[in-house]
Symmetry: C2
Subunit: 238 residues, 2 copies
DNA sequence: GTCTATATGTTGATAGAC
DNA sequence: GTCTATCAACATATAGAC
């Protein structure tokens, strides 16, 4: 929100580059995504943002609220992309439910389409989301539910419509494992193809394709396992 | 069931069961597995062990060395079980290579067979292993390689023998994603069946089975994808 | 070996000048 | 709004008595 254009604004206090609030949000995202909550100190964040600890606490009140504000801001575009992709996937097979692979694609691919300002590390959005799933503090888990819970629920429901007969428990487990594949690829030690070697992004796309294929195959294997739920489970073809 | 050790009791264990060193190793494992490296303080560990910070530093020298000693101690039985299971899987199909599912089973199932003293939290071994894969600090990643690297390499090679034609890159990605499934199930928010409701462990076994099935299906889908590597990849049936 | 006491640095948060 | 200065509480590690 821009500052209210006060009538008696004395001198044009030219903000150097973007205002302090924005720089703080950028900084906390970057450090938290890499190091986790406990290792993210206010000093490191404010130093990276080129300001002081007191300025951060003036704007956000506390370390926790600073992180929360950043998460809410950054989760919005990802949630938007995911819901749009899910709607598109469901529209393609309307009036029937979407295919399983299309649903997982709608969940995964937007993670790799995030592109904010060129000044940002290109993968801050992804690493941030992944960190929310692996960081131990209870408050981080709550924030994860807070910023991703609603959209995750939408995908859960869409998947429930696409698969017939599987009990909710087994389907929930399968979806959870699919999350695991995604989270681990992002937060793990996987080394992405160097953009200088792979300027067109062909290799990157291949990795994302593999990710979707892996999750889909795993999920289908679970909800269709005859031994687990004989003769009652199937994938809706259309 | 003894009260959860997270309660900060001024542990006056009149009869020190086991020596101080052992109690320190137990304590650091428990807290680190739950909270991660940065959130694991020497104070919390030594308090849980019913001793002092100086005693811990006398025995282990530093926080890092205390954790390293604990990891080496705890990783040994898991590594043993895994290698034994892998050898058994390869023996069954000798002289040919083992089947993919048998290899993944040999990697995953031992995680759930760990049972140390009854005094321990039953899943400390699992949670510990998982934490090594998600904790940010560089030194934790090094320790993970230190205690699990050799055995992981064995499984990588066994998998290379079981799958024909897939390039190493794709196979490495597939194996990494399989790790992700396991790690996320253990370190994530998944709620295991209550042992009081599931005393025989039937439900637990079912979950582990699902885990293996998911990973196997995902891996096979990647290394056999015709689009990725047409006509050259196959799974050795025997 | 284990303790108390302490050294030395970092943390999150606040007070108050400007 | 942003800063410097300061706080109490925490961190890891060490010194020395017993």
């Amino acid at each position: 929100m821009p500052p209210p254009a006060s009538a008696v604004r004395p001198v044009v206090t030219e903000a150097p580059q973007g205002d302090t609030k924005a720089r703080l949000l950028d900084a906390v995202v970057q450090i938290f995504a890499e190091q986790g909550f406990h290792a993210t100190s206010m000093r490191a964040v404010t130093q990276l943002a080129g300001t002081s600890v007191s300025a951060a606490n003036y704007h956000f009140g506390s370390k926790e609220e600073l992180l929360r504000a950043a998460l809410i801001q950054r989760a919005a575009p990802l949630n938007g992309l995911r819901l749009k992709a899910l709607a598109s996937a469901e529209a393609q097979t309307s009036p029937g439910p979407a295919r399983v692979k299309a649903i997982l694609e709608a969940f995964i691919v937007p993670l790799f389409e995030l592109r904010t300002d060129p000044q940002h590390q290109e993968d801050s959005g992804r690493a941030l989301a992944a960190r929310l799933y692996v960081d131990p503090p209870e408050l981080v888990k709550k924030m994860q539910q807070e910023v991703f819970g609603a959209v995750t629920a939408e995908f859960r429901e869409a998947l429930g419509r696409a698969v017939t007969g599987a009990d909710r428990e087994q389907l929930g487990l399968a979806l959870e494992l699919s999350f695991g594949v995604v989270v681990h690829l992002i937060s793990g030690r996987f080394v992405w193809p160097d953009p200088r070697v792979d300027p067109s992004g062909t290799k990157r796309k291949k990795v994302v394709d593999s990710l979707v294929s892996f999750a889909t195959a795993g999920l289908v294997a679970l909800v269709c396992d005859e031994q687990q739920n004989p003769k009652k489970v199937g994938i809706r073809k259309k």
